[in-house]
Every structure is written in C-alpha cells, then in structure tokens.
Symmetry: C2
Subunit: 417 residues, 2 copies
C-alpha cells in the first residue's frame, strides 16, 4: 500500500504554521505497520489542488488530504473533489442532524454556513467527525482510496484513529511488520554517540539506525521490518541491548517519553519530594515537571526568584555571595538549591541561574553561561554549563540539563559530558 | 519564479520531527516577495530522491532540498545529486581548510568522516556554511537553479539568509510585491470573528483574508500582491483599519509578536511591576513572561504554589477559604492574586488555579475548570474559564487567558467573550 499525504493550505507554504498534521499521520501509520511514502504541501488554489490530486492518485494506492474543508471562502477542497471525481454535492441528513444537535446544545441557530457543512460528495461515504461539524470524505475508485479530512488537528486526529486507520488495515492488510524504537539521549554530542555506536560490530547493517539531534538531545531511532511481529521485536531488542551496553548511561528514556516523566517516575517510586528555584529559566523547569499528571505527589513548589531581592528574601541567599560572585555563579546556584530545599522542607532542591541573552553579558560572563545547583540529603553541588546565543533555545537547554542532572543524581551516574 | 522545496528524511515522514525547515523557507520567501509554490517530503531512499529531483526540477525554476547532507550512512543527497546532474564529487580545498580550522579550535583531529564533508559536486558552487562544517550546493542548469542545504535548522537558516535569498533575488527579481499582515486575536471564537468581518462591505474581495485558529487564538492574515510596495502596503492598511474598527478590542498584536511581548511593553511603558502566583500552570505563565528579553524590568517573582501548604505559607491564603471553597475557586484565585501582590510589593498580582486533567476532577469541578485572579491598585477580581480535556492544551490556554486578562485590564477593555 503506497500512501501520499497532501496538506492543503497557504498558511503552511508561507510558514505561518508547521505541518503537524502530516507528522501525526506519519506516526500513527508507523505504529500500525502502515507507511507514508511521501507528502506534499500545496496552495489553496484550485488548479494546484486538481493537478496534485491527478498526480498523486495515479501514483499511489491511498491519498489523504487534510485542510480546506471548513466553511470559509478560502476552503476549496470539496469543490476540487467534486470536479476531480466528476460527482456532485448532496445534503447528508445524518450529518445535518448532528450539526443541529451540536448547535442546540450550544444554544445557537443554524446558519447557512453551518448548512454548507452537511454537503458531501455523492460518491463518498462521510467519515464521522466526533470533535467538530464538517465530516470527512472517503471515496473508493479502481481499488484505490481517496480520503479528505479537515485541517483542524484534533478533528483530523480523531477521524484518523477511529475510522481511517481501521478501514485501511482492513482493505490493505500489511504484508510486513515494521517496528521502531527510539532511544532518547541528552547531554552528549551526536558525533560522540555516532562514533561510539558505529564501533559496535555489524550494528549499522543489523538495524536501520538514524540519529536525530535537537536542542533537547540526540534521539537514536532503530527500525526493523520483518515478516512477523516477533521477529521485528527480536531484532529491535538485539540492537537496543548492544547500544545500551555501549552508551546506556546517556539514555534517559525511549519513544514518546519526556525527561520530566522519567524523573517524575523516579521521584514517585522513591517517595522523594522536590522544590525548584529558577532564575534564568523563569519557571520553565517547574512548568515541565508539572506537565506530568500526578506531579503534585512530588513537586512541592517552585520559586522564580528573578530579582536579587527575591533571591535573598525567598531563598536566604547570602548578600555577600551575591556581591562577591554575582547572581550568575557556582556559589549562588548551590546556595539557591540549598535554600529552596530548606524553605520547602523537600528531599531535593534544584536551582538554576544564568545569562539567557541577548543582553546581560559581562566581560567574564558571556551569554549562554549557566550554573545548575542540586542538593539532596547527601550532596550539595553545582555545575557550570555553556550554551549558545539564542534566548529561548538557552532556556530549553538549561531546563533539559537541569532535569538530566537530577536524573543522573538519582541514578548515581556522573555528569561528565 | 516557481519554487519547490524538497525535504529529505524518513524522520519527517514518520512524524518524528515536524517540517520546520520548510516553514522557515516559506516565511523568508514571503518577506522577500518570493513565493514557495509547493513542498514535498520524501524518504532517504535513492530512487525516491532521484524521481523527485526529476519531477520537480522539470516543473519549477528553483528547487531547494534540505537534509541528507550529513556525514552519517543514512545521508544520501550528495550521491543523488551526482547521479542526477551526471557529475562527480571533488575535494574543495577552501571547505577542507575551514573544517580543519574549526577542528583545531575545538582541539579535535580530522577524521575520514570530516574529510567527506569537504567533497562537493564538480559542477556546483559551494554555499558557505557559517554555522557548521558541510557546505551547501548551488547548481545552475538551463536557466534553473538547484540548491541543496543541510537539514540542521540553524545551518540551513544562515545559508538561506546570507547566500541563497540574495542570489535568487538577483537572478529572479520579483515582478510583483507581496505584503502580508497577520492580526493576532485571542479569547474569541473563529466563527464570531468570521461573521463579524464578513459583514464589512467588500472586505473579502479587497484583501485575501485567511483565518487561522490555534489554542492561542485566531490569527487573521491579510495578503496583498501589487505592482509596487506602496500600493501593496496601502491595500493592507485599508483592510487592517476596517478590521480593527470592527473587532479591534480582540486584537492583541500582529505578525510574530507574542502576547508576553505585548504585555511586557505595556508594563514597561507604564513603569508597572508584576508578580505571578501559579497553581495549575506550574510556572508556564512566568516562563512566558520571562521569554521576553528585559523582562526583569517588570517581572519581580513567580510563586508556584502547587501544594495547599505552599498557598497558605507563601501567599497567606486563608485556610477557611481553602476548606470552604476548595483550592480551585473564584475566592482562592482572587486571594492568590492579592497575596502575591502583597508579598512581592508589586503593582500587579496575577494568579491562576484550576484542574488541568486528566485526573483531579470532582462532581462539581470538571477537568478544564480554571479561575484567574488579577489585582492592581484599583481592582481585585477573578474570573471563571472552562477549557477542555487535554492537560498541556489546558496549560497553554490558561496561560494565554491569564495574559490576555492582564492585557485587557491594562487597556481598560472588558473581558466579555
């Protein structure tokens, strides 16, 4: 089954939004042993859309379009479907009743714009939209399938999961099973990981490996395609074990896990509580920790001591140290971690102070200089990091380094890279 | 000049990363009156790459590829360029010397992998990479241009800005000037905005309008293409004024502005200081406020009072209120705003409390229930909001609503929608 995804919308071509819909479909397909062979983005322009329908429907078994199904004037997908399949739009009673029900609940009247949303191509089966009003379109022709979905992510996602993927799996049962595993590392450069992993005998041939760097670290993706699930999983497992044996200390998790989930589980399992003091990250570390549902079990409080006054008042930082070393220093980072642990009565105190830029640098302290402090019942320490010039990237990297420092501390791994 | 962008990489097809490179090029092109006509994503597969080179180079004046230029085994773009243009790879001395210099500075030795990065197609001009080692590729043939850039965003971006766009503008001077303006709204539904704007006489025909909803609000994009800059700007201005006259109160900014920048400027201009108390958002509001460089001028501190104990201890919330109304209540939100203002000695206190889900709901308090409190020297108030079921979306929407409540308070606009 060869699949192409067309994303329709000028807003994506001009870069106003990124194409997260295609990413979502790609992920969902892989996890169902289906594959996306190619994707494209085209303008809200009738000729461009018709040409792309022509080209991709002739070269693929399945074409999925997202976007352009809405009720505003810039949405032209339905019009193009009618032309391409030489059909017409008819009112679908079921869809119209559903729209009426939704509006009734919201105490709103049925407008012409709403009515338009109940029109579907005659030769299609509507795909139910459980999260919105406009239905999707499912058309079968010459053994191929054409699917049109709305561009609103949560509507599209529900329709893909509830209807499209189950129907595609029924129509095109996968011959081979593809399994993937992504190992998540942070705090170590790609070249170092690549050279280390490359040196494992036969590893590059064994599993299809890919190295994916980002500001949060390098992800290592292992892919195996085999005749059955057991074989694919066996291959993945073998490669995973070899990689872990070599660079396991840098791997904090796998697949969709986040570092905050990983440290959350470690803290919860050990019954430890934490408090965070942030200067340069301005709340980002606490926000990430509390992205995890149930984090109230271990996250006690966060103190964003942006001003020196707040550092002294809330954390008891000694004014002489501020004077002598400056707010961005190893000594103050350590005192902040110690202070937040003490005032909160938690098992662990984590603290960051740094210069995120673009302003704030001094002769000896460049933009990107960060100190992270960490205190528990055994140690009270701080470490220097040097990041780059971009403020928001520096915030992300600082938050990741702080959480990784916490993870390594909890697992007794030294922070050497 | 017709342009197509090819992004090469399985990691994008399977949705492991989203295609931000294509978005960046789209934005950069629009701001230079160039346009991207279509984009595609294909696999790291030689046949797929060669087919896509063939198809797109025959249909466009300019083809830009990103990705697959790196030194690892899964990078095959250069190999395909050599085949497609029937050329060969030669060592470029200038590039090799640059790589040697970079490595020397980092105290590292030249490896075979590094050497490979100095190979360029014979018929190409290398594009200098100021942020990394691998150069880009610029090939002219039959009046058309083929450009290959690395996939690493900051390397690709620098090369696009410093070399590619200037050279393209010289080779293909734009005939028409395109200008765009995006107005940013929040706290009001798309259908309401659309119906209101649609009612402005002739507005839909005057400027090309697009409505782009997201969790942060609805963006309204105005596009004008005219024979010169003045005419395009005049048209944009006319449409902008008409839209502002109708729904101006909901517009917080334009183009790339963020709500935190807007409130930052308002606070700074008026010499006001702010402190934030967060429960359910866990630091996200403070983190957003401090995303703005120079925010230390008005942001004094943030208190993330996740536990009830922290609310009482740090904000002086009255225990009876917590008992009687619960931590997620209008009364506690108001007290939190009042408390954080008092303990911080700032002009404004902003506070949120709510249930982000998926757990934590009670019979009367569903997931998505949020209270936002705001106190300044004149008023001390709180407001109820009801969001959805997704934890991270709820955090984003809560942070946006809190900042918008602050904006409207600073400008004396009531929060009615």
């Amino acid at each position: 089954m060869k699949t192409h995804i067309i994303t329709i919308g000028d807003e994506i071509l001009i870069g106003q939004i990124t194409n997260t819909n295609a990413s979502f479909i790609g992920q969902l397909f892989v996890s169902n042993s289906l594959s996306v062979n190619s994707t494209s983005v085209i303008s809200d322009d009738e000729d461009a859309i018709l040409n792309e329908f022509e080209r991709t429907f002739s070269q693929n078994d399945v074409v999925i379009t997202t976007g352009g199904l809405g009720p505003t004037h810039d949405d032209v997908t339905l019009k193009c479907i009618v032309k391409f399949f030489d059909t017409e739009l008819i009112e679908n009673e079921e869809v119209l009743n559903k729209i009426k029900n939704i509006l009734e609940k919201r105490n709103k009247e049925l407008t012409d714009t709403n009515k338009k949303q109940a029109l579907v191509p005659k030769i299609s089966k509507p795909i139910e939209n459980t999260k919105g009003t406009a239905p999707g379109v499912w058309i079968e022709k010459d053994g191929k399938v054409f699917i049109a979905l709305p561009g609103v992510p949560r509507e599209m996602k529900a329709m893909m999961e509830d209807t499209v993927v189950p129907k595609l799996l029924e129509k095109f049962p996968p011959e081979f099973v593809t399994k993937q595993l992504t190992l998540l590392t942070t705090g170590v450069p790609e070249s170092f990981l690549y050279d280390d992993i490359k040196s494992i005998d036969g590893i590059i041939e064994k599993g299809k490996l890919a190295f994916l760097p980002s500001v949060f670290g390098v992800r290592i993706r292992i892919t195996a395609t085999e005749e059955n699930e057991a074989k694919a999983e066996e291959k993945i497992f073998e490669v995973e074990q070899k990689i872990r044996a070599k660079i396991g200390r840098y791997i904090y998790g796998k697949n969709e896990q986040t570092l905050e989930e990983v440290i959350g589980k470690l803290l919860k399992d050990r019954g430890l509580s934490i408090a965070v003091a942030e200067s340069c990250t301005g709340g980002l570390i606490s926000s990430r920790i509390t992205n995890v549902s149930g984090s109230s079990a271990y996250f006690q409080r966060g103190l964003i001591t942006y001003s020196n006054g707040a550092k002294v008042e809330l954390l008891g930082i000694d004014e002489d140290s501020l004077e002598q070393h400056g707010a961005v220093s190893l000594e103050v980072a350590r005192q902040m971690a110690e202070g937040v642990k003490a005032v909160s009565g938690t098992d662990i105190g984590l603290a960051v102070t740094g210069i995120m830029g673009p302003t704030g640098a001094t002769e000896n302290k460049p933009v990107g200089l960060v100190y992270i402090g960490l205190c528990d019942d055994k140690v009270c320490t701080a470490k220097e990091f040097r990041f780059g010039n971009e403020r928001l990237v520096n915030k992300d990297r600082t938050s990741q380094a702080a959480l990784e420092m916490l993870r390594r501390n909890l697992l007794g791994i030294s922070y050497d890279k």
